[in-house]
Amino acid sequence: MLDLIREIETDLEDGWEAASRVELQTAEHTRRAVARFTRALWITLAIMLVFNSERLVTWVNGFGVGPVQDTVVALSVAWNERMLASGFAEPSVAARGKINELRGASWAEFELRVDSERARAREGARLLRGGLGGGPG
């Protein structure tokens, strides 16, 4: 909205002939691109606040001591507890668990995993063939 008002003011100040059609179009494209990425940034912020509240607590705990900082820490902790209770922190925990599993895997476990994936693929292919063939047997 502020952008729009500003745009009208600029037009009135400079007069229509001051800006070419191309310049006006470019300015309009820029306005739209800025608005578009601003929305994307706010969505990103919301996703981080909801799904990554644990790291928010880690971050605010690095602040110094003082009345404002203590309030921020208390709010962040309360927010994180709410997110944990609502289950929003679970995807982060699951992703971290998965990566830790990968980090700790030995070559023997890796081979086992590859074998089980292969077996699953074979099973899938068998079922698919059965389905196409009109059923097993």
Binding site: V34, R36, A40, I43, L102
Partner: protein, 483 residues
């Protein structure tokens, strides 16, 4: 303030919003970006903001001086004074301790011990980068590639612009200053490119570089005598990938952030480990530094215009000084000298081979294509391993550590501790991306640029969330901050 932190996220959100809100008055917009850049720099140590200002003022004054005089000798003198001033500041902060330590050792060896004025000099972050940008400005004005700026704010913003301030890419005055004279523009293409580069940069740094650093490279280089030859081999491959992902990740984020603010930086890395020769490697690795050294050092030294012997000397000197630029240590000197010597040898061998079998005299056809393919594969393999050999000296804290590292390659019978599927997988994954189509990032950006903003937000936010969720705890500083 590091890029992959909450602080930077908040900082960027504010700068993006305020700078674009101020786009109707370009002068105010530049001042907003300038204030943001000095704030960004002062976040580390506000005392060095004065140094940044001093360096800028020297170059700005030199630019004005060059604009006002046409006398060749006076113009040369102005350039010489400005370049010497910049290099003197860089030299004091970066090489003072190194110089005195080396002098003290030398005197000790000669039996002439003296009390030398040792001081604890803190190295200001990004000093090498902003000094080189300042030199670029003065020399470009001198050569007539760019007009001297009357506006101090423009020169200040060019030298201190926060995306590239502390670890590059080194932006040329002739590339950046003309952008400050145009109305700021943000297109769908900028948004697509910015999104892809920021996500790829975060993934490279926070996932690949940080995991390889903490779980492989740091322990292996800490004590190379305690691990097997296989671990040492994986360790140096890991370091090659770590330094690439760390530095190119920073460059990606810097270029992406600049694009989202409406400015275009040139690419800094182009899949360097697919290079089939050292010359090719230096066209792909830290492109902004290698082209800077080429244009402001190699060519002024004479380049390849004064015969074979002078060309080899110039190549060697350029790489030698490039090595010293990286850091005040003999290991960096060796690294630069090694690259310089190998580039010379490569050039010599290629010229002799071309004389023996000129490239255009070869028969075409299938056999020739196979021959070229095999030659290329051998070239890529050989170049990668030469570069890895030099990385050992670049990463090692001393020649003794590098020596232990190399000696350890005899211990093939020892069991490996670090060759886990996860770490090997990270190295393989990063190497695969060295051989993917060059335009992969551009295609992804083109795909993103037409998405509606909620979908774009979900992809960007989801990407950032996933990277943060699976990255190791804590944020390691970027390797190139120390240079």
């Amino acid at each position: 303030m590091l890029f992959p932190t909450i602080e930077f996220g908040i900082f960027f959100l504010i700068v993006f919003t305020v700078s674009w809100a101020a786009r109707w008055t370009p002068h105010w917009r530049k001042l907003v970006l300038l204030a943001a850049s000095y704030f960004f720099y002062g976040w580390w140590d506000w005392r060095f903001m004065g140094l940044l200002l001093l360096s800028t003022f020297i170059n700005y004054t030199a630019g004005l001086g060059l604009a006002r005089t046409a006398h060749p000798a006076l113009r040369k003198l102005i350039v010489m004074l400005a370049v010497t001033g910049g290099l003197a500041i860089l030299g004091f902060f970066k090489y003072y301790g190194f110089f005195l330590t080396s002098l003290s050792t030398l005197l000790e060896m000669a039996g002439l011990e003296r009390d030398l004025p040792f001081m604890q000099v803190i190295l200001p972050v990004g000093i090498s980068f902003f000094t080189f940008q300042g030199i670029s400005y003065v020399v470009d004005v001198y050569r007539g590639h760019v007009r001297a700026e009357r506006s101090l704010a423009n020169v200040m913003l060019y030298i201190s612009f926060f995306p590239q301030l502390v670890a590059g890419p080194i932006v040329r005055a002739a590339d950046f200053l003309p952008q400050l004279h145009r109305a700021p523009v943000l297109t769908r293409a900028h948004v697509g490119v910015g999104t892809v580069l920021i996500l790829s940069g975060l993934a490279k740094k926070m996932l690949i570089a940080n995991y390889l650093a903490t779980e492989l490279v740091d322990p292996v280089f800490f004590d190379p005598t305690a691990v097997s030859a296989l671990d040492l081999l994986i360790g140096v491959y890991g370091y090659a990938i770590q330094i690439y992902c760390d530095f190119s990740g920073y460059s990606d984020i810097a270029i992406g952030v600049a694009a989202l603010l409406g400015y275009r930086f040139l690419e800094n890395f182009n899949q360097p480990y697919r290079a089939s020769s050292l010359q090719d490697f230096w066209r792909r690795w830290h492109i902004s530094l290698s082209t800077w050294l080429r244009d402001y050092l190699y060519k002024p030294l004479g380049g390849n215009r004064h015969g074979e012997a002078r060309t080899y000397r110039n190549l060697f000197l350029t790489m030698f000084l490039g090595g010293i630029w990286h850091g005040a240590a003999w290991t960096f000197v060796f690294w630069g000298a090694f690259h310089g010597a190998m580039l010379g040898i490569e050039r010599y061998v290629r010229r002799r081979l071309d004389e023996f079998a000129p490239p255009n005299s070869e028969a075409g056809g299938f056999t020739s294509a196979i021959g070229h393919g095999a030659q290329h594969i051998v070239g890529v393999f050989w170049t990668f391993h030469l570069v890895c050999f030099a990385w050992i000296f670049f990463r090692a804290d001393s020649f003794a550590t590098a020596g232990s590292y190399l000696a350890g390659f005899a211990r093939w019978s020892d069991p490996s501790q670090y060759a886990t599927p996860f770490l090997v997988g990270l190295i393989v994954l990063a190497m695969i991306f060295q051989f993917t189509p060059r335009d992969l990032g551009r295609w992804l950006a083109q795909g993103l640029q037409w998405l509606p903003s909620p979908v774009l937000g979900l992809i960007f936010g989801g990407g950032v969330w996933l990277i943060w969720a699976i990255a190791p705890e804590g944020v390691a500083p970027f390797i190139y901050f120390q240079f």
